[in-house]
Amino acid sequence: MQQDKEYVGFACAYTPLALIHAAGFIPYRVLPMGDFPDRAGLVLHDNLCPHVKRILDRAMDNNLPALRGMVFMNSCDSMRRLYDAWQRERPDIESAIIDLPMTMDDPAVHFFSSELERLAGILKSWDGETVSEDKLAASMAQYDRIGRSFARLRKDAGNGTLGMGAGALQGLYNQASMQAPEDTIELLEKNTASPPPGAAGMGGVPVFIFGNILPNPEAFDLFESCGARVVGDDLCTGSRLFTELSSSPGDDITSRYAGALLRRRPCARTMDVRNPGSFAAGIIEQAKNSGALGVIGHTAKFCDPYIARIPHLRQKLREAGLPFIMLEGDCTLRSIGQQRTRIEAFIEMLR
């Protein structure tokens, strides 16, 4: 265990984990999970996404490990408001917000690279280490190794040979997002070494899940208990955080890292301006490649980037012949539990 290092919190899948790690910290994802009073409404409007409100609830309830700082990405309106509220509620934990372009073109990558350099300076001011090229390269390699391990697990899930249920895989994602990469590498090597026979969920109906925040392993257990087998995902709290980064051109390693982060599989808030509406095509391609018979969308309520893109996606999925069910949640198991009947009916329809 890397117990000598301090945690730096984060809340978005675009967070440059390797940079934080290279600065000598352990990136710790503040997941919207746990048992704490609902008090964020005192500061933030009811129509804000429950992801940010649950994180704020955790902060207000001091339901956090000791954090040296908190890094927010300027990914959406709600995340900006969370940053505002965080500063009010937890001024004792230093925080920073990093601009995150919505496109992936070269000027956007160049700008994002300058933002990463700014973050490196902030981390240094938090008593971190200077981020050298070597250190960043080493951290990136570690996270890429994790990405490859998770890719193997996802492939096994797709083949029906994963030695665990989708809930257990989600548990690994969660654990990996809250500990040092060295520990995750060790953890994943244990889990990928010898999958036991009789993989869980083998007989289920293959489905692809996309959306934003769905960290609760029990939610995946629920899908499987309804007869589904999760063969792929595109979730902020799932595969999107742990994917091997593609190589990206750049004059220096920070530029290459910035390009790789921005150009990896996008969340709905990022767009390819040369091809407006391509978010739908990306989901359909992933769903087809996974062998899914149907697609489950699950988003936290009030998420504008997804709200705006779902109608177009729904139409394109229909045209592609992929049945689709859309679920909304509030980052509690209760909200998804209430949708069991709909999920069961959907899976039954796919059989």
Binding site: H45, D77, M102, D304, I307
Partner: protein, 409 residues
Amino acid sequence: MKQYFKNLESGLSAAIQNGQSSPRKLYALEIARLGARLYSGVDMVSWCGIYAPFEILNAMGVTSCFVEFIGAMVASTGTVGPMIEETDHIGYSSDACSYHRAVTGAAIKGLMPVPAFLVGSTSPCTGGVAVIENLAAHFKKPLYLLQIPQDFTENNIRYLASQFRDMAAFIKKSTGVVLDNAALTTSVKNSNRARELLLEIYRLAASRPSPVSSKDLANFGIVLSLLFGTEEAVRLAESYRDEFSRRVQAGKSGVPKEKIRLLWIQNRIQFKHPIETMLADEYGAAIVCDELNDVTWDPIDPDDPYEGIARRCLSIPFNGTIENRVKHLQKLAKDYAIDGAINPCNWGCRQGTGARGLIEEGLKKVGVPVLNLEVDCVDSRKFTEGQFRTRIEAFMEMLDQRPSPWSQG
């Protein structure tokens, strides 16, 4: 729509020529003319985000408009219901902003002119960007996205300025229209002139009593930005300046027997409603200041327009942390000697109303209480007049019984 705007334009022109001119009529006339150009079928049209550089677009002869304008327009004309229902039919969540749902519905119904291209902006809101992308896909037209950084730093100014240059090149590539430097210089000079006039208008509006009636400057600052760079913007601003000067010199208040001075936070309610009249008639309360009516930027250097426009964009308090916005609201409250503020908290607006608690707290620190309403500023079908009346009455009675926070000097 084309006929609607033509009729509106001709009706207003006739009234003005018959001596019934007022700044608000001239304002409405400019909106009608903009609408007529948008729907002419002749003008080159661009649908934009709110932060689009209209000086540049106007200098290029492109009739440009942020999409929220359409949402406000269909609300004000009482035709918003069918537009929003159209989005219900395609599964657009009712949790989304009704400005954006109305625009989307209008596009589906074929009531939005086909643009030559679109220019999105990542500020002020994520929902707006998503709608611009959807419209680009719907119309199958090229899209340019302006990334608006959050902080006012030299690096960010340079980045945004470079995007404005790229945008002009994108427009040239998409349409063949070339940006003429002399036209841009003229546009920037007009914009600077309008800025000077706005400063005068707002200074006059802050007078005690204020020459502003609650409706005089509704939506003024944000709509005027569509005309930045044009002579029409200058003429319109001059008419307001002159009218307010006359009223101030005559000691004439916009709301008779002004008693309570109000600050309106973010957007007005766009459909017809009785709140402003009720405030004025029953409580002597005047909305003397709107949050969106302010000049936060320096004059733009005509020799370096891109950087100047970038500085203006980044100066807008909706950028950055809520601290910027709260400080701005506190400044407005002081400048206008505000007694109380009304925040409509438009349902579906994550960026605007998300931090209502922090805004309320910030204004409370300078002694200004805030009435947070829960209203959909576009969808009149959700408006519950009785509930609003009760809450406003209570707020006004409270304000009436407390001394002005500024009475101690």
